[in-house]
């Protein structure tokens, strides 16, 4: 490694550095205002304005949010997220395994079907989804949110995982075959351990999709005890939009778990977020 990556310059690039700092302000200021507002009482916030540094630190906004239903929303979102991740983990690895290792025409058709699925935006099917979910009696039921959410994660997860599984060298499969391993053993003892990074990526991706999902819950649920966090936020906004500290505390609460994952498992999270873009 030479002194600088570009190999030509050892002068720091002031213009670029300045630009980056400018963007830091664009990103940072809203976050600063948000955090500042949540730790002040409402009268304090109104009196001091958005940019003032909080004088009297309080966590009452968070406590109020929790007592006004956010605990329930949290639980619902957690249930949806865990279920979606479970479904994806159960269905996608065998699918990717078949796509990569099966030489049939049928499987390449299956792969194309999932590629087509990449193109379907959730908005496009929300009307018939409402129809189907109502018909099978799952309207206003968390299961009715979980199933479509999981289905819509699948194409990208299948792509990520097939990409990882294709990188497993053929010799390993041959060695297993010589040992007389069954398909199932090959899957559990070779493919799954070697695609661990891909599995982590799809878990994170599916979890984020489920955690941040808004459209399916908005259309497919209505009552208080099936509300998820995003919906709770939206409702809070329409009903008490004037209570900015309380509202922003709810925003922070809804993001907290994701932030924690970001702190401790940054790489997995970034890959999960990149999804297909990370190619």
């Amino acid at each position: 490694m030479t002194r600088s990556r570009r190999g030509s310059l050892s002068r720091p690039n002031y213009a670029a550095g300045f630009g980056a700092l400018l963007w830091l302000c664009v990103v940072g200021l809203p976050i600063y205002v948000m955090l500042g507002a949540t730790v002040q009482t409402r009268p304090d916030y109104s009196a001091n304005g958005a940019f003032a540094f909080p004088k009297h630190f309080t966590l009452s906004n968070y406590a109020d949010d929790f007592s006004s239903g956010f605990g329930q929303y949290f639980l619902n979102t957690a249930i949806v997220t865990a279920s979606v991740v479970a479904i994806v983990l159960l269905l996608v690895p065998p699918l990717a395994f078949a796509i990569v290792r099966n030489r049939g025409v049928a499987t390449s058709r299956v792969f194309r079907l999932f590629l087509l699925g990449l193109a379907i935006p959730a908005q496009a099917v929300i009307v018939p989804m409402f129809y189907v979910i109502s018909k099978v009696g799952l309207y206003d039921n968390l299961i009715g949110v979980i199933l479509p959410t999981a289905a819509f994660c699948m194409p990208i997860c299948a792509l990520i995982l097939t990409g990882v599984m294709r990188d497993i060298t053929g010799e390993l499969f041959e060695a297993m075959a010589i040992d007389g391993a069954t398909t199932r053993r090959v899957f559990f003892e070779l493919v799954v351990p070697l695609s661990r990074s891909g599995l982590a990526t799809i878990v994170v991706f599916a979890a984020l999709q489920a955690w941040n999902g808004f459209l399916f819950p908005l259309v497919l649920t209505q009552s208080e005890n099936t509300k998820v966090l995003t919906l709770g936020l939206y409702n809070f906004q329409t009903q008490y939009g004037i209570d900015i500290p309380g509202l922003l505390a709810a925003v922070v609460l809804s993001t907290l778990p994701v932030l924690l994952v970001y702190l401790f498992a940054r790489r997995a999270l970034v890959q999960g977020l990149m999804g297909v873009g990370g190619k």
């Binding site: 990556r5 030509s8 099966n102 049939g104 990188d167 053993r185 190619k279």
Partner: protein, 324 residues
């Protein structure tokens, strides 16, 4: 069945693959130990296919069916021929919503592409401080679209938000009350939210550019700017394409931000197609019209995604290396 017999010589092509539709190539991979090679049959893919078919493909077929039907959300849909379509194409709000979708998408891409390209190339540098800053730049992406919209709505509140603190800049501070202001806010919020994602794409791609190119250019006496324009940009061509297409698909399906920030207003000045569909179906109980708009969206998104797949080469059965 796992009885261990004598391992046959590798040239022998053994019988039947692992149960199912696996066609065996002439030079089969060694099938030793009994009569099984470990090739999964179609059965492995079946559960996922059925699940996905039921919750994604079936609704897609239904959306086409419903777009030719009258349905108010209760009772049974009834056949209506081309009524929905005719009404839609004579609906000034619909035509306007298509234009608005395109406008917002183009503006979003025009703002985000140069920003994320420069930030991404910058963040790919080796210095430690760049990595730290890049980690901070990333935070908006962690918030859900709902959270981002709620946050900005609070920030832009004319009485209690930022405009109240900077009257010299915002006038009366009611940004969302005017057409230009509302469109500007949507573009700004979209950029704030999604620039990090595209920055990441460019950062990863820039890191993958072979150092040799830069060293050669440096020996030839090319400065930073020339290196950027003659090496970095051409090398990033595919990433730019991928990123722009993601922006287009994302832009066309923007929904949360419009619902929370503007409700399609003022008037119908930010009623983009995806939001209009929601309004028609779930507020106006005209599910047939909603389905027709949705189908239009699908067609556009499909065409674009096919282009994505072509470009990224995902449909070729080749190994991919993680680009991070």
């Amino acid at each position: 069945m796992t009885e261990t017999t004598e391992v046959p010589p590798l040239t022998v092509v053994s019988a039947a693959g692992g149960g199912g539709a696996g066609r065996r190539t002439a030079k089969s991979r060694a099938g030793g130990g009994g009569s099984r090679t470990a090739r999964p049959g179609l059965g492995w893919a079946l559960p996922a296919v059925l699940f996905f078919g039921l919750f994604a493909i079936v609704p897609l077929v239904l959306v086409a069916v419903l777009s030719f039907a009258r349905w108010n959300g209760l009772g049974a849909p009834e056949f209506a021929g081309f009524d929905n379509w005719v009404t839609l194409f004579h609906d000034p709000v619909m035509i306007k919503s298509l234009w608005l979708s395109v406008l917002l998408t183009v503006l979003g891409a025009a703002v985000q592409t140069p920003l994320s390209l420069l930030l991404g190339v910058w963040a790919a540098g080796p210095q430690r401080n760049r990595a730290v800053l890049a980690a901070i730049f990333f935070v908006p992406l962690l918030l859900s679209a709902t959270a981002v919209s709620v946050l900005w709505r609070a920030l832009l509140d004319p009485n209690f938000g930022v405009p109240a603190q900077a009257k010299w800049l915002f006038g009366d501070g009611n940004l969302l009350g005017s057409r230009t202001g509302a469109i500007g806010v949507l573009v700004l919020v979209g950029a704030w939210q999604f620039t990090p994602l595209h920055t990441l794409i460019y950062q990863g791609a820039t890191k993958a550019i072979p150092q040799v190119l830069y060293q050669a250019a440096a020996i030839d006496g090319a400065g930073t700017l020339r290196q950027f324009f003659h090496i970095t940009l051409p090398q990033l061509r595919n990433s730019i394409l991928t990123s722009v297409i993601l922006m287009i698909v994302g832009g066309l399906t923007t929904f949360d931000t419009v619902l929370i920030l503007t409700q399609g207003g003022p008037g119908t000045d930010t009623t983009i197609s995806a939001f209009y569909m929601y309004q028609k179906a779930f507020k106006g109980f005209d599910f047939g019209a909603g389905a027709a708009i949705a189908l239009l969206l699908v067609v556009v998104a499909t065409v674009i995604s096919l282009i994505v797949v072509r470009i990224s080469g995902y449909d070729k059965m080749a190994g991919t290396q993680e680009g991070l």
